[in-house]
């Protein structure tokens, strides 16, 4: 029994590794056709689902040959025209099967840029507010106010992200469009909605980091005549620095991989923004919208995108954990 139990727990723990490894492997294998087709250029290509022009000249060249041939033949025998016409068709088909279905170009640049910039906007917007909330809760508010607001923030952090998306689509988008002009679905709206979504998450984590500062340390500073601002600036923040930066980075990772809050309001359009108020796309949104209609290479391309997103968020979390968030032993 003893050994069986231990084995079971070991296997369960190992399962975590298996899942993670399987995800990486499966994504890679499914993405392989696309990776082989497009290589690293995929990251820098901005066209999506556009037909390549290159295939046409080659075909034109040989069609000319064929026409030349058929016209030659026509001098010899009239009925052979028909045969040659047929052969034209056959040869054209041969051409297409030689090209495969690879005359359509996909590029991840627009979604990648959209993901990064919408997340950046979200960060710019949310960091000051989340920090303000965290400091307010941990250092400024009286206990009787801080406690309920703190609970409210934690509950707000549990609201499903689809709610933010709906609110963004029907209320916030038009609101922003009124102020800044431009579309009701755009990079700006998506970034701001993401920002609002991430605020309770970042605020709660930062507040936890700030409350690890020992009372006695803060009292030491006050006992020297420091003001609250000085204590927060010179003692609290440096002490809690790693936890706070860690919370920001984790929030960045969260925002980057967010689908539903963004899907409603980013526009789903494969084009670069001329201004922030234009619609564009992000990787999670592409994934959300395109799976149903894709197959073959276009499906493989989606897996390639998913792999890229997976790598990106993995990187962010690894950095956060390694540099900033050592779990207490």
């Amino acid at each position: 029994m003893e050994r069986l139990f231990k084995k079971l727990t070991q296997m369960s723990a190992g399962l975590l590794f298996v899942i993670l490894a399987a995800t990486t492997i499966v994504l890679y294998l499914s993405a392989k056709p696309a990776i082989e087709q497009f290589g690293v250029n995929f990251l820098f290509e901005s066209r999506w689902g556009v037909e390549e022009q290159q295939a046409v000249p080659a075909r034109a060249l040989d069609v000319e040959n064929l026409e030349a041939r058929s016209s030659d033949e026509s001098f010899i025998e009239e009925d052979e025209d028909f045969i040659d016409d047929d052969e034209d068709f056959v040869t054209d088909d041969d051409f297409e099967s030689d090209e495969g279905s690879s005359n359509i170009v996909y590029g991840a640049l627009v979604p990648i840029v959209g993901t990064i910039f919408s997340t950046l906007i979200a960060m710019l917007f949310s960091i000051p507010i989340a920090m303000g909330i965290a400091v307010f809760l941990a250092e400024i508010a009286h206990g009787s106010i801080a406690k309920p607001i703190g609970i409210a923030i934690e509950l707000l952090a549990s609201i499903p992200s689809i709610i933010y998306g709906m609110w963004g689509l029907f209320y916030f988008g038009p609101f922003i469009a009124n102020i800044f002009g431009g579309n009701t679905v755009s990079l700006l709206v998506a970034g701001l909605v993401l920002g609002v979504m991430v605020i309770p998450f970042m605020a709660a984590l930062s507040r936890d980091a700030i409350s690890t500062v020992p009372e006695m340390l803060k009292e030491s500073a006050y006992a020297m005549g420091a003001t609250k601002l000085e204590v927060i600036k010179d003692v609290v923040f440096p002490y809690a620095k790693s936890g706070i930066i860690g919370s920001v980075i984790l929030s960045f990772g969260r925002a980057m991989g967010e689908t539903m809050a963004v899907a409603f309001v980013i526009g789903g359009v494969y084009q670069f923004v001329g201004s922030v108020t234009d619609p564009t796309n992000s990787i999670p949104v592409v994934l959300a919208n395109s799976f149903a209609e894709s197959s073959g290479l276009s499906l493989s391309v989606l897996f390639y995108l998913a792999l890229i997103l997976f790598m990106m968020s993995f990187l962010v979390i690894a950095v956060a954990k390694h540099y900033f968030l050592r779990r207490k032993k």
């Binding site: 009286h142 006695m216 006992a223 020297m224 005549g225 620095k241």
Partner: protein, 261 residues
Amino acid sequence: MKNMLDVQNLTFTYNGAPAPSLEKINLPVQKHKVTALIGPSGCGKSTLLRAMNRIHDLYPGHKYEGEINLLDRDEKVYTNILSLKKEADMINLRQRVGMIFQKPTPFPMTIFENIAYGLRLSGVKKKADINNVVEKSLRDAALWDEAKDRLSDDARGLSGGQQQRLCIARAIALKPEVILFDEPTSALDPISTLAIEEMISVLREQYSICIVTHNMQQAARISDYTGFMYLGKMIEFDATDNIFMKPSVKQTEDYISGRFG
């Protein structure tokens, strides 16, 4: 005017507490002397100490009755610090009445910056002035030799005893008139404890000192006057020799001889 700080008839109740934690306390803190507060856990000695720089008021709602009089800088008049309300006055108070805490509390900065911090807050700007004061403070705190080559290292790299001496240096850099010590050696090893006790003995030449300690031998070693407290009341206050050799109150004698506490 031999008292630097004079607690008179102080009754103190914590915010929301059903009964006062301090009752009608009288305590003089004489100039250039060390006054010790002893008593069993919970008797209120730390509470009394923390009233003297009004650090209680970081958490609002407490009730004070009585007076705590602090001699003005011109040495002519006393001000009741319990009547101070404005933040600027509080800041000023805490620059004149410094406090060393139970556990060493180095700020997350370099050794140099730890000491310079309070100076900068109080408006000292010239680099030369700051450097001078930092050096003098470290010397007075018996830390200069160990720290002079590490001034730009993080203060948290110092040992416990060194950190506590750093906190003392930090406090005296502001040239306070009173220094309050709240069980300063309870978290330290015997050798560091001895070093700090020696320092306190020397510090009294420039400052007026009040120290809370749960270690009676420490009080007997370094203080001039001792107050024995129990359950929020000042049971007996006298010259240290009297308290320890011929106490007037039986309770004092019981505590000294270890019969309780």
